[in-house]
């Protein structure tokens, strides 16, 4: 279908080109110069015929030659534009984008709007921020084809969001139509932009609308779940703990987001004084299923809950565990941050994730220079994911170039395409590497802060222990027998529920269903 449309576009362009060539050739007299012109015209006609016939490879070779031929200086933009179209059809959006950029940079030609449109599409398919920014900054919305306007508004919104123009971003996202495939993302980002602009009411409404608009796609729909989480976070920020917990609870367990939600809801539970509930959550979060996840804060939070209920021994265990896990992480991150090469950061993350994908839990995680918990965290970061996705697209394009037949590969356009993709790959890897470095820096700072917090919490623990000891010496301590020492737990079991005592092993189907059955020990 695309190919057919493409041909129609090209056929429409073709007469214009030929007509133009004829018009310029007409008044000349028959001289040697005219012969040259005639041959030039024939070359162009030949190239356009190839375009018309859908022979993209041959056409691209010819057009590339013509684009560098001074005889076609006055047709250069047309040729570049057509070359871009050919390359786009040949699944080489990056190389194609460079041709469109040339047309856009020239500025004053009749292919400008078309080139901008195609450049936006190529940039959109590549997901490259730099290209997108470039295209978007030059596009006039009204001149952009209606069929692609949702994409344009969405990308403009993203651009504005990155530049902290939150209200303008929200407005752009709002212009994405409900029928567009980009609507769920746009609505989510619109709500996010409102949140950043401190417009909680508008943000909540946007999230709510997103949730409602996705009801028909099932409870696990990613957009719906994202909307729910957004609502819950707004309520949390508004200190409406119980309401936020209720919304967090609506996030289905069989979604990727559930893990983060589970931790966030623990905060809300803690803030609403539901210590038992938060400890129940921590039992899941600190199980072996999460040993590869970066969750230092959750350990400190657990220690604080123990502090609340005067479980100093448990608290000390948790704090010791925090130090045992995260001190080496801090050390390794600090050491790795001395690496000067940006590419080494990217390469290390990719090596670890690739091996993890292949070997799963059998992977020896000690072999990596960046602690694996940190690698996983960075790999999931949005900016890194975008860069990684762009790199994968470039690799696909490189493969497309390598898969072309030898004559094309050895032609000028083939060599040029290979050089362009290779250069972009190097740059993209470096950029991704710098992103990894920035995240590692953030982790180091985060851990530094948390170690400080750990010190305060430990101080509180020692203080609590001291107070308890004082009371004991004064004979005001708790009686020997406490309710949580009672082994009769019948009252925990309600009709319709089963009770399985925890015996040290963690089961996937039990995650999220653990319940802390101890009581507080404060006197």
């Amino acid at each position: 279908m695309t190919k057919k449309l493409m041909c129609l576009v090209l056929i429409a362009l073709l007469p214009l080109g030929l007509h133009g060539a004829e018009k310029k050739a007409a008044p000349r007299t028959v001289t040697r110069d005219a012969t040259t012109k005639g041959s030039a015209r024939a070359e162009l006609v030949q190239a356009l015929q190839l375009v018309k016939q859908g022979k993209f490879q041959a056409a691209s070779v010819k057009l590339f030659q013509l684009s560098h031929n001074p005889r076609f200086r006055d047709r250069k933009m047309q040729i570049k534009y057509l070359l871009g179209l050919m390359l786009y059809q040949m699944k080489m959006p990056q190389v194609a984008a460079f041709q469109f950029i040339s047309v856009v940079k020239d500025g004053n030609n009749k292919y400008l709007q078309q080139a901008l449109e195609k450049l936006s599409l190529a940039a959109d398919s590549l997901g490259d921020d730099t290209l997108l920014n470039y295209a978007i900054s030059r596009v006039k919305v009204d001149d952009f084809p209606r069929v692609h306007r949702d994409m344009l508004f969405f990308r403009i919104g993203e651009f504005q969001l990155r530049n902290q123009q939150f209200e303008a971003a929200a407005e752009s996202f709002k212009r994405v139509q409900r029928t567009s495939g980009l609507f769920p993302k746009a609505r989510y980002l619109e709500a996010l932009a409102y949140t950043e602009a401190n417009k909680a009411k508008e943000a909540y409404e946007a999230f709510e609308d997103l949730v409602q608009s996705r009801e028909q796609y099932g409870v696990t729909d990613v957009a719906r779940v994202s909307g729910l989480i957004g609502q819950a976070r707004i309520l949390y920020q508004a200190k409406k703990w119980d309401e936020s917990i209720e919304l967090y609870r609506q996030v289905p367990r069989d979604t990727e987001a559930w893990h983060d939600v589970f931790f966030e809801s623990s905060w809300a539970m803690l803030r609403s004084g539901r210590f038992r509930s938060s400890l129940s959550n921590f039992h899941s979060l600190h199980s072996g299923f999460y040993e590869d996840r970066y969750l230092p804060e959750s350990l400190l939070l657990r220690a604080i809950v123990y502090l609340y209920i005067c479980k100093y021994d448990e608290m000390e265990k948790v704090l010791n565990l925090f130090n045992k896990i995260y001190k080496p992480v801090y050390k390794d991150v600090t050491t790795f941050l001395k690496t000067p090469s940006a590419d080494a950061y990217f390469a290390e993350v990719i090596r670890a994730m690739k091996e993890f994908k292949e070997k799963g839990d059998q992977l020896d995680k000690t072999q990596f220079k960046i602690p694996f918990v940190v690698t996983r965290k960075i790999f999931a970061e949005g900016d890194f994911q975008r860069s990684y996705s762009y790199i994968k697209k470039l690799l696909d394009e490189k493969k497309s170039v390598d898969d072309m037949d030898g004559s094309w590969r050895n032609s000028a356009i083939g060599r040029y395409a290979k050089r362009v993709v290779q250069k972009r790959l190097v740059k993209a890897r470096n950029r991704a590497g710098l992103q990894v470095k920035a995240h590692l820096d953030a982790v180091r700072e985060d851990l530094f802060d948390l170690f400080e917090q750990e010190g305060f919490i430990r101080y509180e623990m020692i203080n609590g222990k001291k107070e308890a000891l004082k009371k004991k010496l004064a004979g005001k301590d708790l009686p020997e027998e406490q309710i949580d020492q009672d082994t009769q737990r019948d009252y925990y079991i309600q009709n319709g529920y089963e009770y399985w005592p925890f015996k040290g092993e963690y089961w996937l189907d039990e995650l999220g269903n653990y319940h802390y059955v101890g009581t507080q020990s404060c006197n």
Binding site: Y506, L508, H515, T519
Partner: protein, 242 residues
């Protein structure tokens, strides 16, 4: 993370005012399990920190078994086994079973001529299985747990096995095949009750191919025609993980 730090600070202030007494434990209904779906992970693993670890470990055991389909001879046998688990799923198993001598109840009745209208059939004159040695591949298909009471939870595993070996019948040794399923109920992390239900297949002398009188001397295996036996064995035993 700044919001986290602020949160910690707020919690500290709140913490100073906390003081309470022991309380009765009640769970809000909305916090009790309501979903039957599983959390999503990159790599699905059903259990972490498992109580019973079998990978790279040797398991020894022994017990008693019954041949459920032998009409003539004492169905009871004693067995011993050694297994090595390559991982939590795959393993090999070597087993030996020794049959008790004597006849089954039916064998005794036939020997006494009951229901034979004055004739006799004494199976003890024919050779019977004495022992069996088997080498098996063992596949653990399931590891789980079972709640037998409110406080008692037992781990269990379900496995299948199949292998080849030899069975001694009288003065002959015959090739035998066996396959079956079994279950282990773990009392501790190392000790388990093992139940096996196996099918045993071999060709051997058929005692019914000749008349066997109580006055006859014991015949050699070659004196009988051969047939294919398909027996079901049920065994119980204890196993211990070393």
């Amino acid at each position: 993370m700044r919001w986290a730090s602020r949160g910690f600070a707020v919690l500290f202030v709140g913490c100073l005012s906390v003081n309470g007494n022991a309380e009765t434990i009640e769970f809000p209904t909305e916090e009790l399990a309501s979903e039957s779906v599983l959390p999503v992970f990159d790599k699905v693993e059903n259990v972490k920190n498992r109580n019973v670890v079998t990978a790279k470990r040797i398991e020894v055991g022994g017990g008693i078994g019954f041949n459920l389909m032998d009409a003539f001879y004492n169905p009871m046998n004693f067995h011993g086994s050694v297994s090595y688990h390559f991982d939590e799923i795959h393993g090999i198993n070597a087993a030996a079973a020794f049959w008790m001598s004597g006849l089954s109840n039916y064998g005794e009745q036939l020997k006494n001529g009951e229901g034979l209208d004055g004739d006799f059939f004494d199976p003890s004159r024919a050779p019977s299985p004495k022992y069996m040695l088997m080498g098996n591949y063992q596949y653990t298909a399931y590891y789980g747990k079972i709640s037998l009471s409110k406080q008692m939870v037992m781990n269990l595993s379900l496995f299948g096995l199949a292998g080849l070996g030899t069975i001694a019948i009288g003065d002959q040794n015959k090739i035998a095949l066996n396959f079956g399923i079994g279950e282990k109920f773990y009392f501790t992390k190392n000790l388990a009750l093992r139940l096996d239900l196996r099918m045993l297949l071999y060709r051997g002398p058929d005692p019914t191919t000749r008349r066997l009188l109580p006055t006859d001397s014991e015949y050699e295996a070659s004196a009988f025609g051969e047939t294919t036996f398909f027996h079901t064995m049920l065994t119980f035993g204890l196993v211990y993980l070393l």
